[in-house]
């Protein structure tokens, strides 16, 4: 596809249109851009959370979120294009490049399924889960790569499934039946699923598939050295091994598995297992999850039935005690189902993973019955011989062997495992299945770690960006210099979350900020670097000084003073149930082009379209550029006063207002001039509060310093072009209910301010710049440095170049933004003509200090 072609072209206002229309058009584009920025960050935050692997999701989740991410990135780029009059065409190219990569990972599966209807476990690895389902893929992996014993067997692949369904025209028939389903009516679901299952079980297995299954069975028989005599023929267990997003249903036992199947029942049982894909719970599940039937398929594991003497389950970790990492083995006599179905209490053996021969605990239970294979197929419950009923099913040696297998599986899959095993008549221990064990770690239930007593609680609430435990000395970061000096192993404490903090993330044990959003850029980075982080604590910098030893528990959003040894053991977090699954792998690959932020410094030379590697980069760049574009909107207002409304107020400004909608009280928009109380724009009202602050009402003349005055005269004579141009122009406020773009020329300086403050924290910001002055360049520079000192104290990110100061504050709550706008209003008045006074360096700090202490006189001595 080509983003540059075939757009539905919106008409942007032309020169003939009024400037008001142009502003409205640009403002509308800007708002859409900000909205999409918020949405994109939400998608990214959500993806990163899923990448932690603790939540289960399907492939449709990946498609949906990738689609949304692209949509919003594209919407941002398109709106910047509108806003900037097509100034950044290369952004489209950058986005198209990233989109192509995502499509490659996401699009129709690149790998064509194998031509084989049947695969043996020698041929299967875990990467083939899409063709043979998770259960088969794991068995292949265990057999081929881990070399652990598994039963003889083969997989009927998804190609076999497709062959079976298409041979009977079942895809179409199933679709038709499914159209009769009303998602809100369980009756229609039950009825349709029953009919679909009926269609499948009564369909004919095509001869090529039938032959393939029978030949595969015969090969097993030969490998097992069994004759063709009926009593010698191996029995088979047929286990469902669904692919794709239904893998979790498969492991949850929703699909059918049939044990002890005789060869003559193989084909009919295969059909029953396939049909279980359409049980009512499975159909309802897919409907609710938005999973398409096209994305699922049923592969079947056909395993030689083990004549189990004993069987059971192994957990390589305690399933709900996060701190207990002993290996737990359960065992019953006979076949496995009784070990899990609760029919009898199994023996249990607890093994120390650090010394596999050390059996920590043995509980031998009373086992009066067992499940066994029937000669004619099927299963039967039999009594256990009395002398065996209270005897251990496993010897210490067998327990050690099983624990060794379990640990090998866990190490291989890098995740706690839930394993089914069986002991056959020859005394061999076999692995029947291994799947991720969902350990109920504290992460799944944030806030579940009770507060540890005996340590002062420094912080009790905040927004958790990444859960975990981190401990070390606090180190407050207020500048780039602090970041450079950030010590290894410290806890980073900052007022505001900023992507710049990435510079210290590898060294940081945890991050705490006063303010910040979990959907923000920095939160993404914290997740990427797996650094426990609590944002929006409000009080971190005020409460935790540099050097204080602290323990951060971001499972619960708590910070303790001192080291809390009870929590340190949790620093090693459990791996996730989703990791290593095929769906997870797709997400990981797709997210690589969406979530990482490689741009952290807007001042860097590579902050440009051609260096965008991810959608996050594109979003960040477009976001930044959009401010520049909006910032300049005030410039276009100058000289076009005719449609503007004048403000009548006691402020030393000739101020015109252009309302984009909702900025002026209803009924007052048509007036030639309005009063302060007619303003309904929240940010503008806040700024005006500052501009009319009582501290500036005295009629006392501003103090004048003689050399400063001379400096002004000299500058006038030399005719500094910039200041002369600016002098005497009107000030403009382009406003809406939540938006303000303010540009003002007071005396010889120029200040511009752009702000949005609404209910969405992520969209709120103030951009401010101040330039020029009447005095010489040294004094002008001193003045902007004094302004910079004040703005830094007010939490702005500030940059000074010559006589220009640029500052940005973003992602704070509306109330705080308005409070800061009030202060910026006061600062604008306070710094009028201040340049003339700045005769030595001492004034820089003195003037800033005066302002911050609420003393608005320009008297250096207060």
């Amino acid at each position: 596809m080509n983003f540059l072609k075939n757009w539905h072209v919106r008409r942007s206002p032309s020169a003939r249109d009024s400037l008001g229309d142009l502003f409205r058009f640009k403002y509308s584009a800007f708002r859409m851009l900000l909205d999409s920025n918020t949405q994109l960050l939400k998608v990214i935050a959500d993806m990163e959370e899923k990448l932690c692997g603790r939540q289960v999701f399907g492939i449709s989740y990946v498609r949906t979120q990738a689609g949304r991410a692209i949509f919003h990135a594209l919407r941002m780029v398109k709106n910047l294009d509108d806003l900037s009059n097509h100034r950044y065409p290369r952004l489209f190219e950058a986005l198209e490049k990233i989109d192509r990569k995502i499509q490659e990972e996401m699009g129709p599966r690149k790998e064509s399924p194998p031509a084989e209807l049947i695969l043996t476990y020698d041929e299967i690895t875990k990467e083939m889960a899409d063709w043979v389902g998770g259960k088969n893929a794991n068995l292949g992996e265990i057999h081929g790569r881990l070399r652990l014993p598994v039963p003889e067997g083969f997989a009927i692949t998804t190609r076999g499934f497709t062959r079976f369904l298409s041979h009977n025209g079942l895809f179409e028939k199933i679709t038709t039946k499914k159209m009769e389903i009303d998602p809100c009516s369980p009756e229609t679901i039950a009825e349709s699923s029953r009919e679909i299952q009926q269609l499948i079980t009564s369909a004919e297995v095509p001869s090529d598939l039938d032959t393939a299954i029978r030949s595969a069975y015969d090969r097993i028989r030969q490998r097992m050295h069994r004759t063709e005599k009926a009593e010698d023929l191996p029995r088979i267990s047929l286990r469902s091994s669904a692919t794709g997003e239904d893998a979790e249903l498969s492991s949850a036992g929703q699909y059918l598995s049939v044990l002890n199947v005789t060869p003559d029942q193989l084909i009919s049982t295969y059909k029953r297992v396939v049909a279980s894909l359409y049980t009512a719970p499975a159909v309802a599940y897919r409907l609710n999850k938005g999973i398409r039937d096209e994305d699922i398929a049923m592969s079947v594991a056909c395993l030689a039935m083990v004549e189990s003497v004993a069987s059971g389950v192994i957990y390589t970790h305690h399933p709900f005690d996060f701190l207990d990492d002993n290996i737990m083995i359960t065992a019953v006599w006979g076949l496995g189902p009784y070990a899990v179905e609760g029919r009898i209490t199994p023996d249990s053996y607890t093994v120390d993973r650090r010394s596999l021969n050390a059996i920590v605990r043995t509980v031998i239970s009373h086992k009066p019955v067992q499940l066994v294979n029937l000669p004619e197929g099927g299963l039967q419950e039999l009594s256990v011989k009395p002398e065996m009923q209270d005897t251990a099913c496993l010897s210490p040696q067998q327990i050690g062997t099983l624990a060794g297998y379990a640990l090998a599986l866990e190490t291989h899959y890098k995740h706690a495992q839930d394993i089914e095993w069986a002991l056959d008549r020859e005394g061999r221990l076999l692995i029947l299945q291994s799947r991720p064990l969902h350990v109920q770690s504290p992460e799944t239930d944030i806030g579940s770690i009770p507060a540890v007593s005996g340590y002062p609680l420094l912080i009790k609430e905040g927004a958790v960006a990444y859960p975990g435990i981190g401990c070390g000395p606090a180190f407050q970061v207020h500048s780039e210099e602090d970041l450079k000096n950030f010590p290894e192993g410290a806890v980073l404490v900052a007022k505001h979350s900023s992507p710049m903090l990435v510079m210290a993330m590898k060294k940081a044990r945890a991050i705490l900020t006063d303010v910040g959003s979990v959907a923000g850029h920095m939160a993404s980075l914290a997740r990427e670097f797996a650094v426990p982080a609590i944002l929006d604590t409000r009080i971190a910098t005020a409460t935790i000084p540099t050097g204080m030893e602290i323990t951060v528990d971001s499972f619960s959003g708590i910070v303790y003073q001192g080291t809390v040894p009870e929590l340190l053991s949790l620093q090693k977090t459990a791996e996730s149930p989703m990791k290593e699954t095929p769906v997870y792998e797709v997400l990981r690959k797709v997210a690589d082009f969406i979530a990482p932020l490689t741009f952290t410094d807007p001042k860097a030379s590579n902050f440009a379209p051609e260096f965008c590697q991810t959608l996050h980069d594109i979003g960040r760049l477009v976001h930044e550029l959009s401010y520049t574009e909006m910032f300049q909107i005030g410039d276009s207002a100058s000289g076009n006063e005719s449609f503007a409304v004048k403000l009548k107020a006691a402020i030393p400004l000739d101020l015109c207002i252009i309302d984009l909608g909702g900025g002026i009280a209803p009924g007052k928009e048509k007036l030639k001039s309005i009063k302060m109380e007619d303003i309904s724009s929240a940010p503008f009202r806040a700024l005006l509060r500052g501009l009319t602050h009582e501290g500036f009402r005295s009629s006392q003349p501003r103090p004048i310093n003689l050399s400063g005055f001379v400096s002004v005269v000299m500058e006038q004579v030399s005719g500094h072009p910039q200041t002369v141009d600016r002098f005497g122009e009107r000030s403009f406020a382009v406003v809406s209910d939540n938006y303000l773009n303010f540009s003002s020329r007071v005396g010889y300086h120029y200040s511009a301010l752009d702000s949005y403050c609404g209910p969405t924290i992520d969209m709120n910001y103030i951009s401010f710049s101040f330039k020029g002055g009447a005095a010489d360049s040294v004094r002008r520079n001193r003045r902007v440095r004094a302004i910079a000192l004040v703005l830094k104290e007010l939490d702005f990110a500030v940059d000074v170049q010559g006589d220009l100061v640029s500052a940005r504050l973003q992602k704070y709550e509306c109330d705080l933004i308005m409070e800061r706008l009030d202060l910026v209003g006061r600062l604008l008045l306070y710094t009028r003509q201040m340049d003339m006074l700045m005769q030595d360096e001492g004034y820089v700090r003195a003037m800033a200090k005066n302002f911050l202490s609420g003393n608005y006189s320009l008297d250096r001595n207060g």
């Binding site: 983003f3 008409r11 229309d21 909205d35 498609r63 689609g67 594209l74």
Partner: protein
């Protein structure tokens, strides 16, 4: 503010009727139809400000519907609603000028806010043509 004239297009009857009644309670002037074809008829015969269209429908799907709407009326703002997004449909929707792309089921407040934003956008577009 004038009542926003909304067209709701979805072939899932339960979902559509429930959503329509909730939107009517919020004072939208809602027309509901169950197919892309009927959506086109509505647009030809009645004034519509914003259309909310399900992407996946039997017969003419949401994107085709959007494409056809664009032939008739370039000013209607369209919000795509879908339970099954894909990169392709997102890009195509954006290319065809969809205003936004929401996931089903969506939060009613979020949808209402989007409809209002879309309506504002339409007013801006109309103003620029005057």
């Amino acid at each position: 503010m004038e009542r926003i004239r909304l067209l709701l297009v979805d072939d899932e009857d339960d979902f559509r009727t429930t959503l329509a009644s909730r939107l009517r309670k919020r004072d939208f002037d809602v027309t509901e139809v169950d197919s892309g074809y009927r959506a086109l008829t509505s647009i030809r015969t009645a004034a519509i400000d914003v259309a909310v269209i399900d992407v996946r429908m039997r017969g003419m799907d949401g994107l085709e519907t959007l494409r056809e709407i664009r032939r008739i009326d370039t000013l209607i703002e369209v919000i795509m609603l879908t339970g099954h997004a894909s990169v392709e449909s997102a890009v195509e929707g954006m290319r065809l000028g969809a205003f936004d792309y929401l996931m089903k089921p969506c939060d009613i407040n979020e949808l209402v806010a989007k409809i209002q934003d879309a309506y504002q956008r339409k007013l801006v577009q109309e103003a620029s043509l005057k």
